[in-house]
């Protein structure tokens, strides 16, 4: 595995072949780092479930922890993405996100078929990712404009999601989870296409975007599987 920091500035290649080499290198590094980022996420989720850390926090406390932790890490990633320190900071962020995931994982593991639901959600997320990665190589048209619409959709999803923390409606949660799977699947396609088109030249930024989309797809799938396939006995 060769994870060398890549400059974010527009690539000043001498020809199309060197540009293609550069794009392939960014894509390869993104896939490697993405695979690596799963390890701290699983470790974080395991730690969170075994210690009951995330479950002990109420919504208010988890908001504060999230704001400080996630935004702090993202700020650090932004500052270090052009240096070798960017990779450990990103892995630290994925560990933190794993801890944040542990509340849901713990709830699903409390079901009698919880482990199989988690494996199903993991397989489903993998299938979506593979599908989107394949699509990104097939689709030839420019998907840049799709990003704006996806962003607006995501913001509306976020507003509705925050409202549902107070409303506590299961029906709205199901609707939002289904919409989230669609939006974040499209985000995976958009992000990978950006790398392939040479618009994203930093693999740490690319990994961060794709990782968060995969994380959200997994969480939504797990939520839906817990609702429709969960067995209490």
């Amino acid at each position: 595995m060769n994870l060398q920091p890549v400059r974010t500035d527009a690539y000043q290649g001498s020809g199309s072949s060197s540009s293609a080499v550069q794009t392939n290198r960014v894509l390869r590094n993104t896939y490697w780092l993405l695979a690596l980022s799963m390890v701290p996420t699983v470790l974080g989720a395991w730690l969170g479930v075994s210690t009951g850390l995330a479950r002990a926090m109420g919504p208010g406390m988890s908001l504060i922890v999230f704001l400080v932790g996630a935004f702090g890490f993202m700020f650090a990633i932004e500052k270090t993405k052009n240096s070798a320190a960017g990779v450990p900071v990103l892995l630290g962020f994925t560990f933190f996100m794993g801890i944040m995931l542990s509340r849901l994982v713990g709830t699903v593991l409390g079901l009698s078929n919880g482990a199989s639901l988690i494996m199903t959600a993991f397989a489903g997320t993998g299938a979506i990712f593979l599908g989107m990665a394949t699509l990104s190589t097939i689709i030839k048209r420019d998907l840049t404009s799709m990003g704006k619409w996806l962003f607006i959709g995501m913001i509306m999803l976020l507003v509705a999601g925050i409202a549902n923390i107070f409303i506590q409606s299961s029906a709205l949660m199901i609707t939002l989870s289904v919409i989230a799977i669609g939006i974040f699947s499209a985000f995976i396609l958009h992000d990978l296409k950006r790398v392939q088109d040479g618009l994203e030249t930093n693999y740490i930024s690319a990994t961060l975007g794709v990782y968060l989309s995969i994380y959200n797809v997994f969480q939504s799938l797990l939520m839906l599987l817990g609702i429709f396939g969960g067995q209490d006995d």
């Binding site: 509340r103 409606s169 299961s170 959200n216 939504s220 969960g230």
Partner: protein, 95 residues
């Protein structure tokens, strides 16, 4: 040229029925207005949040991750559960 006149044989609606129809139209208008206002507010919130995030989707994506984690526990919605106490009813023998 013919001039149209209201027919003398036109069915006459009762006053309460007419009032009900008018009330229905007002209600529909109010619902449409409320929907439009809600949509406008959602769009405004989306625009404000977009400005707050300054187009960086990673922050919004991570925020959605938190918002979803804070949702109610994944349980199948079963509706309201009502506890019903069943008592044995004994009929006294008639004298």
């Amino acid at each position: 040229m013919y001039q149209t006149r209201p027919s003398l044989n036109a069915p006459v609606f009762s006053a309460p029925l007419m009032a009900l129809a008018r009330f229905g139209r007002v209600l529909l208008g109010l619902a449409l207005l409320a929907g439009a206002v809600l949509l406008g507010l959602l769009l405004l919130a989306a625009l404000l949040l977009r400005r707050a995030f300054r187009g960086r989707s990673s922050s919004a994506r991570a925020s959605w991750g938190w918002a979803q984690a804070a949702q109610p526990s994944p349980r199948r919605p079963t509706g309201e559960v009502v506890d019903v106490e069943v008592r044995e009813i004994r009929t006294t023998d008639a004298p």
